[in-house]
């Protein structure tokens, strides 16, 4: 049961049940959807950015606890960041998820994202843990012209 409890830590379960920043963002400047064709899960990320700095971000998701929690934690971390900083953080997250011995790479920048550590034992779920990130990172620099 321990791999399982690591996957479904309280932080994950809480974000799943009571996600942060859920729903459409009023006055968003960008919006992107990511879809997992394997399972049919969908996540939509809305953001607002001014001069390449993110000033607001929300999401909506039809998906599992891992994808919802990951999206929720993501929206809590990114305000005030530039698209480059967002990309850096995403590559840190990927490095963390893909490296089974990544204790050492735990970074305080990752914040609650380290609660996704359990995903490392479930390779099939990495796509869930990164779905919202893909929606944002693949689109934030091109669609976020701001005013």
């Amino acid at each position: 049961m321990s791999d399982l409890l690591q996957l479904y830590q309280d932080i994950i379960l809480n974000h799943n049940k009571r996600p942060l920043n859920y729903g459409e963002l009023d006055g968003h400047t960008g919006k992107a959807q990511a879809h997992n064709p394997l399972c049919g899960d969908n996540v939509t990320v809305y953001w607002k950015s001014v001069d390449d700095i993110l000033t607001g971000i929300t999401f909506e998701a039809q998906g599992c606890a891992i994808s919802r929690a990951s999206a929720s934690i993501m929206t809590g971390l990114l305000n005030g960041k530039s698209s480059e900083e967002i990309k850096d953080l995403f590559s840190k997250l990927l490095g963390f998820l893909l490296d089974p011995d990544s204790e050492a790479t735990m970074d305080e920048q990752l914040g609650d994202l380290v609660a996704l550590s359990g995903v490392r034992k479930y390779p099939a779920r990495i796509k869930c843990a990164t779905l919202a990130w893909h929606a944002l990172v693949d689109n934030v620099s091109k669609a976020s012209g701001g005013e």
Binding site: L4, Y8, L13, N16, K17, C39, G40, D41, G63, R125
Partner: protein, 406 residues
């Protein structure tokens, strides 16, 4: 006399698997069934005693392999009660079978403005080939709706059927809902309207006997791996005169009568539709799976599965917030469900930690799940080697999930 599930289970080596320390509870039979020992042995003995290419060698092994492959065709023909073995085409599986018919029947019979009728509960394999055919010909795809209980709307079917309908292609048993469709009625009505009928039997043949002549369908398609055989093999049944009127599917070796650069002539069915070296071992092993089933009493298997379905439906329904999708009067032992507050993927992951294998997702039936306003279900699909104890384990594990995600 009474059904002895313990001795049946002994025939399936994989059922002894431990997942971690927990015994495997395999409830994903709609995805693929497990194989009895004699099917696995048939594959091995083919490669140790028979292996050669078929239909063109004169040596000992080539004749032996050809005879075994053609005997497998006769076994499949008898299994379906086809008129002759020439009505059985070996393919990779149901998907390839439907594509074959879409290609060859489409080329011969489908023109712009013709209509092809499918249903909301089709697997993507019985949707996309028709969309491709419609795109290339200008034909129109029409869809029979389903009810809340997961049954075809037969009144809508009557209205959709017209002289423009050239083909009705519907699933015999739904892989997402378990519904057994009234295919005999569908065939009668379609024929009366002048349309041909293809039945997707992928989920049917593993649960009950199918008699294609009694159904009077024009085509019937199924996969070996859902019939306790190997992956990569399946069969298309087609009425001989129909098959004989169709152009080839793929071109290549073994499907021709004579090749010159000016003109190539094709073999009669089924050879015309079997280009290249087929999955010889798979066909032989599928015949072995059919022998295995034939030696069991199918009535016993059906009543055991029915008992499992009733038992599972009763126990799952007692769980708070659990909703079963697919409550048709006629259904096979398959339960699609959602549980409030927990996504099906999370359910499947937690069940897996208890050794329980179910499927979570859209089951390649996205339009059907959209019909019910959901994107995924958990699906427990049972075979005759499953037991009530395994259902108890499923229910216990689901209760734990409710606590974890509460």
């Amino acid at each position: 006399m009474s059904f002895d599930v313990a001795s049946i289970r002994k025939e399936f080596p994989i059922l002894k698997t431990l997942v971690g320390k927990k015994p495997l509870v395999y409830l994903d039979n709609a995805a693929t069934t497990q194989k009895p020992r004699r099917v696995i042995q048939a594959l091995e003995s083919y490669y140790t005693e028979t292996n050669a290419n078929i239909h063109r060698g004169v040596h000992y092994l080539a004749e032996r392999a050809t005879e075994a492959y053609e005997e497998a065709r006769r076994v499949v023909a008898r299994f379906l009660n086809a008129g002759t073995e020439d009505e059985v085409i070996f393919v990779r599986g149901t998907t390839e079978g439907i594509n074959l018919i879409a290609h060859s029947f489409g080329k011969r019979f489908i023109e712009s403005g013709d209509e092809i009728l499918i249903s909301t509960m089709e697997h993507h394999a019985n949707i996309v080939p028709w969309q491709l055919l419609c795109e290339s010909t200008g034909a129109i795809l029409k869809v029979i709706p389903v009810s809340d209980a997961g049954e075809l709307d037969m009144e809508a079917f009557d209205q959709l059927l017209s002289e423009r309908t050239k083909l009705v292609s519907v699933v015999h048993v739904s892989n997402s809902l378990g519904t057994i469709n009234p295919v005999k009625t569908i065939v009668e009505k379609s024929h009366a309207a002048g349309a041909k009928v293809l039945l997707d039997g992928a989920q049917a043949v593993g649960h009950f006997l199918v008699d294609v002549r009694d159904l009077d369908c024009d085509f019937y398609v199924f996969s070996g791996h859902k019939l306790f055989g190997a992956t990569g093999i399946g069969a298309v049944y087609g009425k001989y005169d129909m098959l004989d009127s169709l152009p080839p599917y793929q071109g290549g070796g073994d499907m021709i009568s004579q090749v010159t650069f000016e003109k190539t002539t094709y073999k009669a069915p089924p050879g015309r539709f079997e280009a290249g070296t087929p999955h010889i071992a798979g066909a032989i092993a599928m015949a072995e799976a059919i022998h295995y089933l034939n030696e069991l009493d199918r009535t016993d298997l059906i009543s055991h599965e029915h008992d499992l379905l009733e038992y599972a439906t009763g126990s799952l329904s007692e769980l708070d917030g659990l909703k079963i999708y697919g409550t048709a009067a006629e259904k096979v032992s398959l339960l699609s469900f959602t549980m409030e507050g927990t996504h099906p993927h999370d359910i499947a992951t937690v069940l897996d930690a208890d050794g329980i294998a179910i499927r979570a997702g859209h089951h390649c039936t996205q339009p059907l799940l959209q019909r019910y306003g959901i994107s995924a279900t958990g699906r427990a699909s049972l075979a005759f080697y499953n037991t009530r104890e395994e259902i108890d384990k499923l229910v216990e594990s689901l209760k734990k999930i409710q606590v974890l995600f509460a």
